[in-house]
């Protein structure tokens, strides 16, 4: 492998991993071309949008899990504040598009889900699991792309959990539930103002908690590298990464016709694998719904979510190679591995029950103006607090950790 210093600026040496970079860039180009040939340019475009999302997630280390833990343990809110800005900017673009219903021939739908027992239980389960697993849906993918073997275990059991969730979802959906509520029911301007006000409320409350605890509030650090090289090799400021994610999520809505989603693909992959080894998942109620049956019956490359997930992993791997940080760690402590497995199972199952993960339910739900996104946020945050308390049982840092880390 050839790894050479690429640039030295501001006293910071950048070491890009050239061979890994060749592999990831080659795979991206080949993937784009292959999907274009095998399916069409729309799916190839979604693959690239996914790659952009993965690149931004990695360069900003933009995850919900670490940011929420950092807030509840250390009362540092920079991550949560960046998330609120990200969702707010996305809502400004997405809610009008969803309200319009279509752009040209492209139908556009939002992530607007019912409010029921399955949402409450699933979101709390997901929040608990993400602290054990060490990442949420997108976090798991982009850290896998960055070479984390522990997160590969989380992903594997995320898929298993999502598949089990599809087996049980009909029962959960038979439990009490209220119809979906869109804040845009009060009119688009009113819905937008209410959504942005709620996001601002979370922003300023977390800001106030941090100021009360520390007497100051963390601000975005300036790029560590002079010039624009930091755009390629990172790290990006959290807000910068969040804004990139907002723009790309709006692009997803325009091209895919639905908001950004991650975990649907996991359940589909699990079902395809199960079917391949002789488990008749196609007889399950979930997989007999025409939409899901079509997804199961046809190529995974014709599934918008899966194609974006593939791109996301490769985009994150490209970012890791550019940053010179693509370095799998092979040694995983046993208890940490157990936490990864449990976390993956809980997240997969919880995401299926609650209509998505931090991306599909929280980000896309709130940015679509759906009340279920807010309920998901509250319940997942509560579950996350319990998950932080459970981490020491698996040899991971919990509330007593004094080390401040993002």
């Amino acid at each position: 492998m050839s790894s050479v210093p690429q640039s030295t600026a501001g006293g910071l040496t950048t070491v890009s991993d050239k061979s890994a970079l060749k592999v990831t860039l080659g795979s991206l180009a080949l993937g784009f071309y292959a999907i274009w040939l095998a399916v069409d340019v729309r799916f190839a475009t979604l693959f690239l949008i996914g790659a952009g999302l993965g690149f931004a997630l990695y360069q900003g280390s933009f995850g919900f899990t670490g940011a929420w833990r950092r807030f509840v343990v250390h009362k540092r809110s920079r991550g949560i504040r960046a998330q609120m800005i990200m969702i707010g900017v996305a809502a400004l673009g997405m809610m009008p598009l969803i309200q319009a219903g279509s752009i040209g021939s492209q139908a556009i739908v939002g992530a607007i889900a019912p409010l029921g027992v399955s949402l409450v239980v699933g979101a709390a389960m997901f929040g608990f699991g993400m602290q054990l697993g060490g990442g949420c849906g997108s976090g798991t993918l982009f850290t896998v792309g960055g070479g984390s073997l522990r997160m590969l275990a989380t992903l594997a059991f995320f898929i298993v959990g999502a598949l089990i969730g599809t087996a049980h979802l009909p029962w959960w959906q038979a439990q009490p539930s209220l119809p979906p509520v869109s804040l845009a029911e009060m009119g688009l301007p009113g819905g937008l103002v209410l959504s942005l006000s709620l996001l601002a409320l979370v922003y300023f409350v977390s800001h106030a908690i941090e100021r009360k605890a520390h007497g100051d509030v963390e601000t975005e650090p300036a790029p560590k590298r002079k010039g624009w090289s930091w755009l390629l090799v990172g790290p990006w400021p959290l807000i910068g990464a969040g804004l990139a994610l907002s723009v790309l999520s709006i692009a997803t809505l325009l091209v895919a016709g639905h908001p950004w989603s991650v975990t649907y693909g996991f359940g589909l992959w699990g079902a395809k694998i199960a079917l391949a080894v002789g488990i008749p998942v196609d007889e399950w109620a979930f997989w007999q719904v025409p939409f899901h049956a079509d997804a199961l019956r046809h190529s995974v490359l014709t599934n918008t979510v899966s194609v974006m997930n593939f791109g996301l992993i490769l985009g994150a791997a490209t970012a890791a190679a550019l940053a010179g940080s693509f370095a799998p760690k092979n040694a995983i402590p046993f208890r940490s591995l157990i936490a990864a497995i449990l976390g993956g199972l809980l997240m997969g199952y919880g995401a299926r029950l609650s209509f998505g993960c931090n991306i599909g339910a929280l980000f896309s739900g709130i940015a679509s103006g759906s009340l279920h996104g807010w309920i998901w946020f509250a319940l997942a945050f509560a579950g996350s607090c319990l998950g932080v308390a459970a981490r020491p049982f698996f040899g991971l840092d919990g509330y007593k950790s004094q080390k401040v880390s993002q």
Partner: protein, 94 residues
């Protein structure tokens, strides 16, 4: 400050092998499963092969004069879940 990274040729080799294996599985799935047949439609802008079900909701119709019809009215708020993949209602086909 210097960024030090652990660089093992094995890392890239493992990653490349995992990518190749994944690509192989996806290729087999694609060949075995194939893409959905294009929707038979008189519209010049037919749904793409493999188009997502979400995209199949409101295909654009075009009149004989070649003029686009006015945009459809806003979708009514859903009574069930929307067609976003995570939210498709669980109701078995009859």
């Amino acid at each position: 400050m210097t960024v030090t990274t652990e660089r093992k040729p094995r890392n890239t080799a493992i990653f490349a092998a995992a990518l190749a294996a994944t690509a192989g599985v996806v290729t087999i799935d694609h060949v075995v499963s194939g893409v959905p047949a294009p929707v038979a439609s008189a519209t010049p802008r037919a749904l793409p092969a493999g188009g997502a079900p979400c995209a199949a909701i409101v295909p654009a119709a075009r009149t004989d004069t070649g003029k686009r019809p006015p945009p459809p009215p806003p979708k009514p708020l859903p009574e069930g879940a929307t067609e976003a993949p995570d939210l498709v209602v669980t109701r078995p086909a009859n």
